[in-house]
Symmetry: C2
Subunit: 132 residues, 2 copies
DNA sequence: ATGGAGGCTGTAGCCACTACAGGGTCAAGG
DNA sequence: CCTTGACCCTGTAGTGGCTACAGCCTCCAT
């Protein structure tokens, strides 16, 4: 079980090197030990934690939500109602974003494929200008 | 046709005062004339332009896309193919965002409503940890 | 004369990274 | 032993599109 340097960790977790250092700076990933030359040395626990973070981000959780979920994950004996709460909250946000974007898409679809030939009779410009 | 100060323009266009000054700084809204005391004085042309910008933002266009659309709107004799192109591009982005979020929503829906009682058996934490 | 609403500039903060600049370190090949 | 190139380090600044001050000045009604 040899230690991973940051490049190797980056590959194995699917997270950018710069992003790993950023997570360390904001206290999401604990500071690893260092070699004599100052290179970061990661273990399996770091890899697991970083993958947890990446999956959370893939699911669109904010950094702060992930921070809370990590705290929960560290206390397996506690009730998990809070995790459910965080997920439900996030789901609601995602659903509301979908609704917003769907309305947007409908408007854009009505707009697109302008039949005019010059800007003077362009439906898109017209809609934005809404001179009336 | 009296001049508008920034507060009045803000109300009439539905755009924040700070945002108006920001648009001026980035060159989206032209610098207005000033009173002796240095107060900004806007006219109808500013109001029209700012509303155009706001509608574009409401439709989710980026500042740069709006900059391009404004340039088009200023040249009504030119062909409007470029406006259509910008709208089609943007529509595609919106559609792809909807698709992403829909996948996300499905995943979250599967996740949510954790049946366990403690974190140790929590489906949410489990999925993120994905220890397998 | 005064008080409160509104205006001004300039800077810093938000989120979650990303992209350098300018250096140091390591391992393999010549 | 030396060089080359891949990798690592720190620190800072930039992204988009605002938003939020701090610390001033000005206008108008009472």
């Amino acid at each position: 079980m040899k230690a991973l340097n940051i490049g190797r960790l980056s590959e194995r977790a699917g997270v950018n090197i710069e992003t790993i250092r950023y997570y360390e700076k904001i206290g999401l990933l604990p500071e690893p030990s260092r070699t004599a030359a100052g290179y970061r040395q990661y273990g399996e626990d770091h890899l697991r934690r970083l993958r947890f973070i990446r999956r959370g981000r893939d699911l669109g959780f904010s950094i702060e939500a992930i921070r809370a979920l990590l705290r929960l994950a560290e206390h397996p004996e506690q009730p998990c109602a809070r995790a459910d709460e965080l997920a439900v909250e996030h789901l609601a946000e995602v659903e509301s974003k979908i609704a917003d974007l769907t309305r947007l898409r409908d408007e854009l679809q009505r707009l697109v494929h302008c039949v005019g030939h010059s800007v003077a009779e362009c439906r898109i410009i017209d809609t934005l200008a809404a001179i009336k």
